[in-house]
């Protein structure tokens, strides 16, 4: 099976990597989109520093940016998933959660806390009417907490006001049930994500959690919109001091969530080269895009429109990997499920870095 292509022509991996290095070196403004494991991210950031690229998440970069902004701009009270399982007697789902977390929410629904008091678990769903809830199984339902036509942030604001004993223009539905649950609760936990919550909603939720902690305990479980995105953000933070949406064009890491928004740079025509690292072959670029691209993906053929395509394996499937696990709330080592010869993104990125020539990060 061929594993690399220059244009649509099969090529040796070394030649394809050399071609990719050429493109990167002659690029004025390269953008990297990452959807990869921890070591893939380490290698990508090292390469980005060499060629002055911007790094962003490949999927919903906006959702990840909202999550990182919660920390960079405001701070938060958070709790580990393990403690949530063992202590949370009130679970409030805040807005729509990404599907990757539905299994864990279902697990919370079928278990009871074993620490801190022995209450059963009760579920609430905060958000406008119609907010989809993860299935809780066996006909269990989360009690909705909505507030007229208010969006998520408005609903949280009303909920926070009512929890503080203030009057609101419109009451939150089922508030008495929530108030009663909080009254008897040992450790309420709010499940949140940047997936559907905007920055104001995330900040409002943290305000509510801070209020509750004046007298009792409560916290928030961060369920990232993307696990690989959050993992990459953590790596970027230790390697450069900053999360994703950090660029190296000026010779030092420059964290700027607006300017280094990869999708914006591409749409605005600022970027002239796109390096895409993805688990699966990405969608071809839009017809109007003339921008050259380099694609590293698990693919059997050249990516449509890409100047260079190199096949890589999927982390934890084709090769051993370290990934962020939201179930663990930390990094986890994964053995290859079905080991194959497909290389890891990290190996290909290092191969390209070696060809770039300028001083490589000792990585």
């Amino acid at each position: 099976m061929a594993v690399a292509w220059i244009g649509s022509r099969e090529a040796l991996v070394g030649d394809a990597a050399a071609k990719a290095a050429d493109l990167l070196q002659s690029s004025r403004c390269p953008v990297f989109s990452l959807d990869t494991d921890i070591h893939g991210t380490r290698a990508a950031i090292a390469l980005a520093e060499q060629v002055g690229a911007v790094c962003d998440h490949a999927g919903d970069g906006g959702a990840l940016a909202r999550e990182t902004a919660l920390f960079t701009d405001r701070g938060a009270m958070t709790i580990a998933p393990g403690e949530t399982r063992r202590r949370a007697d009130v679970v409030a789902i805040v807005g729509e959660l990404p599907e990757i977390h539905h299994e864990f929410v279902g697990e919370l629904a079928t278990t009871v806390p074993d620490l801190g008091g022995g209450n059963p678990r009760r579920f609430f769903l905060v958000g406008p009417a119609g907010t989809p809830a993860p299935p809780l199984g066996k006909g269990r339902k989360a009690t909705p907490l909505s507030c007229g036509g208010q969006d998520l942030c408005g609903t949280l604001a009303a909920l926070r006001a009512q929890c503080a004993g203030r009057r609101t223009a419109l009451p939150v539905s089922n508030f008495p049930a929530f108030a009663e649950a909080l009254e008897g609760a040992h450790f309420p936990v709010f499940l949140f994500s940047g997936h559907a919550a905007d920055g104001l909603a995330l900040a409002m939720l943290q305000g509510l959690i801070a209020d509750l902690n004046r007298k009792k305990r409560a916290s928030g479980l961060h369920l990232p919109a993307s696990e690989s995105g959050w993992g990459s953000a953590l790596v970027s933070t230790w390697m450069t001091g900053f999360p994703l949406r950090t660029g190296f064009a000026r010779g030092f890491p420059d964290f700027d969530p607006w300017r280094c928004d990869g999708a914006r740079m591409i749409a605005a025509g600022e970027a002239d080269l796109h390096l895409r690292i993805a688990a699966l072959a990405p969608e071809p670029p839009g017809k109007r895009s003339r921008m050259a691209s380099i694609v590293l993906a698990k693919t059997a053929g050249p990516a449509a429109g890409a100047a260079v395509t190199i096949a890589i394996g999927a982390p934890g499937v084709d090769h051993d990997a370290v990934v962020y696990s939201s179930r663990l709330g930390s990094l986890r080592a994964l053995g290859a499920r079905t080991p194959s010869d497909l290389p890891a993104a990290a190996a290909i990125l290092r191969l390209i870095a070696e060809q770039v020539g300028s001083e490589a990060l000792p990585c």
């Binding site: 009270m77 709790i79 801190g116 953590l234 933070t237 179930r327």
Partner: protein, 543 residues
């Protein structure tokens, strides 16, 4: 290659070598002067002080909480300027890469990250592996975890507790064990807001003292070279000197290390009910030979406090500067990040003075360790200035003159004349840390030691002299010249490797399945996950 470091002033208290001479290195280790030695490389060390590479026993350089602090404070990076250009990621500020480079420049070659949460061991080791040049090690945190507290409550046998501690140390690749405000994080989850040595954790009925004593005994019996590393209760509160004194008394003849004692040096005298108890604590340390302490010196300026003492960090939220914090309830301790600015006001001045009093009034440099509890008292980049304060009483007097007289009236510092000598510095930052951690291969310049060597050009300006080493060798590689990194290499994380008891592993497997819904494998990792050739170096347990 045979390297000769020629004509330096050698300061090696362990081997009783003090005075001008040559030091020889071959194949990464220090060797005797060869009979017919032709050096392949000669480094002129005339006019220089030559010491072993320095060892930092307590500096928060990597892991979950440290990275969260970076995430919380993108603006903090300016505090770590300036940096030389043209080295990879040299302008990255508070990154893993900078950490290794900045430590190396000062002649530090081994640094211990003292607060690794067991569940974040893989993350911690990946960060440490990205810190270039120096060797690292970790202390793993126990004492707020349900498994241990349940065993203590249920009067589990000492052997069973040792098996658990051994498994934790082995699976997390730690060099020692730390307990942080024992029981308080667990109590805080049940809404307890203050917690002292004889308070008990709700749901367990186990006192903080009992947790400390249990872990102290287990660590000792397992032959872990480093005694239990204790972060006491009541950190930072006026009157906490009483807690520290009670904890020192609780050592009861067995080795115990108390971390960042400065943060417990507070009395309740004076108008503001905040005063120095440093003289009293130093006297207690002097008369309690089984106890070692590190200082956690405060230096003025912006920093961030990073601590797994979640109870304390939660209560300090109001003092955050800038106004943002992270408080995380973790599986055991969790932690809190509270940025803070130490000003030259009454409180800041007194904290600064208390740290220096502890350094200067503790007689034995083998039992008091050089730390700022990076970054809690100050970033480690403040070390050169701190050396100056310890070695030069004039420098102290100048700073004292700038500080509020009301604060200086409540400390003995202005009356202290002592100045640390190079020999004492070499003990405090080299020989003693190696001994305390069980690292017999370093901390001295005898034949057979790893060739971790720091060469400092003599200068009246101590901060300049010790801040920018003339030469630094790590494992015999020249890594720093004239204060600049000239060679990147990768150090290792030093670890113990006790063999886990099979029955305990089975028990933990069942526990994790039942309580967390996850198999034990989720919490462990192979060495290959670090993706470096030799990520770990093994240190033997005491037999």
């Amino acid at each position: 290659m045979l390297t000769r470091i020629a004509g330096g002033d050698i300061v090696d208290p362990v081997n009783g070598r003090l005075g001008e001479g040559d030091l020889w290195i071959a194949d990464g280790v220090i060797v005797e002067a060869p009979a017919d030695g032709e050096a392949g490389r000669t480094v002129d060390a005339s006019g220089c002080v030559v010491m072993a590479g320095a060892i930092d026993i307590h500096s928060h350089i990597g892991g979950g909480n440290v990275n969260t602090a970076r995430l919380l404070l993108p603006e903090q990076h300016s505090a770590h300027l300036p940096r030389p250009a043209m080295t990879p990621l040299s302008n990255a500020g508070w990154s893993t890469f900078q950490t290794g480079c900045l430590y190396a420049r000062m002649g530090f070659t081994t640094v211990v990250e003292p607060a690794m949460a067991p569940g974040a061991a893989l993350h911690t080791h990946l960060e440490l592996a990205d810190i270039p040049i120096i060797d690292k090690a970790t202390l793993v945190i126990l004492g707020n975890d349900d498994f241990l507290l349940s065993m203590i409550r249920d009067d589990a046998s000492a052997t069973m507790i040792e098996d658990y501690v051994a498994w934790t140390v082995a699976s997390t690749r730690a060099l020692g064990v730390k307990v942080i405000n024992a029981g308080a994080a667990a109590a805080f989850k049940e809404n307890v807001r203050t917690f002292s040595l004889d308070d008990t954790v709700p749901s367990y009925g186990v006192s903080s003292r009992r947790i400390v004593k249990t872990l102290q005994a287990a660590v000792d019996r397992l032959g872990v070279p480093h005694p239990l590393h204790v972060h006491c209760n009541n950190l930072g509160s006026p009157g906490s000197a009483g807690t520290a004194a009670a904890t020192i008394a609780a050592a009861e003849g067995q080795p115990l290390h108390l971390a960042h004692l400065q943060f417990y040096g507070y009395g309740t005298q004076g108008k503001r009910k905040f005063s120095s108890e440093a003289a009293r604590l130093a006297e207690l340390v002097n008369t309690t030979p089984e106890v070692t302490v590190d200082v956690g010196q405060v230096m003025f300026g912006q920093t961030v406090t990073v601590s797994s003492d979640i109870l304390r960090q939660f209560s300090a939220r109001g003092s955050a500067h800038p106004k943002k914090t992270v408080i995380h309830d973790g599986d055991g301790n969790g932690g809190g990040i509270v940025p803070y600015r130490y000003g030259k006001d009454f409180y800041g001045a007194l904290q600064w003075a208390i740290g220096l009093e502890l350094f200067l009034l503790t007689d034995d440099p083998w039992r008091v360790f050089f730390t700022t509890d990076h970054p809690n008292g100050a970033p480690f980049t403040a070390y050169p200035a701190l050396f100056e304060l310890l070695m030069n009483r004039q420098a102290r007097a100048e700073l004292i003159a700038e500080l509020p007289a009301s604060a200086m009236a409540l400390t003995t510092l202005p009356s202290i004349e002592r100045e640390y000598t190079f020999e004492e510095i070499a003990i405090m930052t080299r020989a003693a840390p190696a001994k305390l951690l069980g690292l017999s291969d370093r901390g001295h310049l005898g034949a057979g030691a790893v060739a971790d060597v720091a060469v400092y050009r003599r200068d009246a300006d101590i901060a300049k002299m010790l801040g920018e080493a003339a030469y630094v060798f790590k494992d015999g590689d020249l890594v720093v010249k004239d204060g600049a990194v000239v060679h990147y290499r990768w150090g290792r994380a030093l670890r113990l490797k006790p063999v886990p008891d099979k029955a305990m592993v089975r028990r933990l497997e069942a526990y994790h399945q039942q309580r967390y819904g996850l198999s034990l494998g989720w919490f462990d990792f192979p060495d290959t996950a670090i993706a470096r050739e030799q990520p770990f170096g093994e240190v033997p347990c005491r037999s």
